[in-house]
Symmetry: C2
């Protein structure tokens, strides 16, 4: 049997198991009855071990090693390259370390949840220290000549970005945005109170969010919209990419922008080259790239004036009672209002990156300066005071608000801002090639979808992020586009 056949036979099985695991995770987050979660987790653990065993099967490793040394055609060549890279990573981590880390994380989730409910960080400190320790161990296993320390983790979430790059990026944000936010703060505007204080029937919100799927031309033949506690996108293959949103009676905009944000993630995956179906190439790796697409849809499209000129009448019709005296200009102000606040996921577009920068600073301190969990909270609160002028009085509004660290995700946060910045750079190029505002206003969004497909989405993991950025924008990544985009947008809105 040829090595190629061996490799493909293994991939077929791994794919089927991965599909099952994906479906379990989707189900678990959207509908598994509470009393069945434990049973589901037991089955998941068994299948996950099967996948591990298949992945690390000697025959598979041999096939990949041999194919790696062979002169292959693309896309197989790129697939083998990625699998080879991946194998080398897994091989470096002893199986027992890997498995005991999994156990630690699954317990950590429950401990974190309890600590958050009680708003008491001290309950989570010991666990967080253990997770940090494990990550430091992982770093040691995975370090190379090029990648050391925290850079190992950063590179895992977005290939090509190191601390020196993020430092430059966040310094620019600090230098340019922090003073600009202070300026915006002085220039207040008003809009009808009902937008912020009204109650908005969830059934009607559901109806409007279903409508949005059509407005953005989300492909429902290969996806669906459901509900969950935290909105997310879940795709296992480009032909099945599902999104969720979350409704709150007190907040009309929350579900709307969650839905549009997740559609951005979803369309990115749906539009992967179908040739890559069932291969590593459709499992898109860079979180910064992923976030660039969700932010582009959420902010550049979803928070634009043209989009609401087009779709606000439908929203007004849906909430005819509540919105009868609210003009589209009011709604536009409401969804673009700048407010310094404690919670990252509720932050406006302008202050958002300040929240992310703070997390980046804390993570750097953990891995560079050996900050302990106990000190994490102190630093967190200090940075919120310094950068946003806020006194964090409750842990659940502060250091306990995000789930990421309890899941072992360090190096993930910075990709949120990076994504916003990449989106702004793409947007600048798009504007040269398309009359975006007109397309949005005239309901021609499929042309924008198509541009993104051809330039970005189709590539999947075939190209690394910096390669895509270079190919599309003819430049290296440049965060100045982001700063300029934000300052221009908010100067106009706030009449500064």
């Amino acid at each position: 049997m040829s090595y190629e056949k061996t490799f493909k036979d293994f991939q077929k099985k791994i794919n089927a198991y991965s599909y099952a695991l994906w479906l379990m995770s989707w189900d678990s987050q959207t509908e598994t009855p509470r009393g069945a979660q434990n049973y589901l987790n037991q089955q998941r653990a068994i299948l996950a071990e099967e996948v591990y065993n298949l992945t690390m099967d000697e025959k598979r490793i041999e096939a990949i090693d041999k194919l790696y040394e062979t002169d292959l055609e693309n896309p197989l060549k790129r697939e083998i390259e990625l699998e080879h890279q991946n194998l080398n990573k897994i091989k470096k981590i002893p199986k027992d370390v890997y498995l005991s880390y999994r156990v630690l994380l699954s317990n950590a989730g429950l401990i974190y949840k309890e600590a958050k409910e009680k708003s008491d960080f001290s309950l989570f400190e010991k666990t967080l220290d253990e997770i940090i320790l494990y990550n430091k161990k992982l770093i040691k296993y995975l370090e190379t000549d090029e990648l050391k320390g925290y850079n190992v983790l950063l590179n895992d979430y977005h290939e090509g970005m190191k601390m020196e790059d993020y430092d430059k990026f966040f310094n620019l944000i600090k230098e340019k945005l922090v003073p600009f936010i202070a300026e915006v703060e002085k220039a207040k505007f008003t809009y009808p109170k009902v937008l912020k204080e009204g109650k908005f029937d969830i059934k009607k919100q559901r109806e409007f969010n279903e409508y949005l799927l059509g407005a953005i031309k989300y492909d429902l033949n290969h996806g669906l919209l459901k509900e969950s506690i935290h909105p997310f996108t879940s795709g296992v293959t480009s032909c099945d990419v599902r999104i969720t949103t979350k409704y709150s009676e007190d907040d009309l905009s929350s579900a709307i922008f969650s839905t549009i944000h997740e559609m951005g993630h979803g369309i990115y995956e749906q539009q992967t080259n179908p040739l890559y179906s069932g291969t590593t190439l459709e499992r898109i790796r860079s979180l910064g790239m992923h976030e660039s697409q969700s932010r582009l849809y959420e902010n550049m499209i979803g928070r634009s004036y043209g989009f609401w000129k087009n779709h606000y009448p439908k929203l007004q019709e849906t909430f005819n009672e509540e919105l009868k005296d609210v003009a589209v200009d009011d709604f536009y102000k409401y969804i673009n209002e700048v407010n310094k606040s404690f919670i990252r996921v509720e932050a406006d577009e302008l202050t958002y990156s300040i929240h992310v920068m703070i997390r980046y600073e804390v993570e750097k301190a953990i891995f560079k300066d050996n900050l302990t969990a106990k000190e994490v909270k102190k630093l967190w609160n200090k940075l919120y005071k310094e950068n946003l002028g806020l006194d964090v009085t409750e842990d659940k509004l502060g250091v306990l608000q995000d789930i990421h660290w309890s899941g072992g995700s360090f190096g993930y946060f910075p990709t949120y801002s990076l994504g916003s910045a990449i989106a702004a750079q793409f947007y600048e190029t798009m504007k040269k090639e398309l009359d975006i505002e007109k397309l949005i206003e005239e309901d021609n969004i499929e042309k924008i979808n198509l541009w993104l497909k051809e330039n970005i989405h189709q590539h999947g993991a075939f190209k690394i992020p910096n390669e895509i950025i270079k190919d599309v924008t003819k430049e290296e990544f440049d965060p100045n586009y982001y700063i300029d985009y934000l300052i221009t947008k908010y100067k106009k809105i706030y009449n500064i």
Copy 2:
């Protein structure tokens, strides 16, 4: 390694794979996007083959054979007995025959669907002949001294019932019910037209069906209600048993009784002894027993006067516009009206078994008299004329209405009536031990659930159906209870 450990290790894996396959099937029927169904089917085929390979693994077979000869304690003893029986069955069917049958069936589903859409049985004839031929082959492989011909299939769906038993059963139905139905036909009653001709908002129906979950005390910690094209119950383990219903704007009762029917199936599975979790013993085998529980909830509880005395006010409140002039007595008549009709799943409780008897006669003719697909339609229409006085003019209202044969299910239909009859016999015993009508009227349904759990549900596959019937009712199965139950009920309703 001990044989027991070997067996249990295999079961653990088989369980995990079965769980994944179950979830895929559930997802496929309730939400998989159309464009992803094919991808799902490919992954399902791969995992199904893995399950087959694990099931037939030499080491597993050896372990089961050795354990079968060992003196074991229950419940392991019974588990091994069932697995041994099952293995012997699978071993007799050559793998290639089994696999090519699976392929035939998956194509048959699409052909059947098209034929039904076009209401043209001739499009399905060739496929049906192939399925019949395969079933005859299967019968040959599986025949034993005790079980020959069609009995092999009958026994597969409900252990212990042979043609001679069903013949007696259906002859009694024909002899007693056909003339009684003629009597009922003459005694007409009336109720407000709106019940039959009104439109009932689906959102409100949803609200009321959610309410019913509480009314029946369905355990939502281990189950959920969703929607699908055909209502069904899907359980993989007693801790996760999900049901679906189907709403139609033109028919208020359809979803209500689908929901209650499926809850009956669901509660049966949910209340299996938790000791049997993850074993064959919680995969309940007899369809007649299963149906006895769904029918008991649907008809004896759900169509009772006391149930609606209790819950009709809520229904009236939900549809205050439509039902304001409809009394509970009217509603009770409406849900118990007898109407000879073409479609089995829409039939009333009294004529239901006539539909089933016709299908039983047709299947017997197929396997005893070698009826071909072409002749099936002729016989079908003849029997509808003879027994219900109806001229079938369209295939979709006749021989194409049910999906079962396209899925290779022969011997399944009779369990529908058998279940109704077993339910009536259980109900008679229950009435001696519980004041059922009072419990229903006073919202004390959990006492009925508990009685069913202790007497029936908990046993899972530990006991065979006839053993349970004997233990509970102190008698053999006796269809006269069913006839008496129906005649008494409808004499009262129709004032005969």
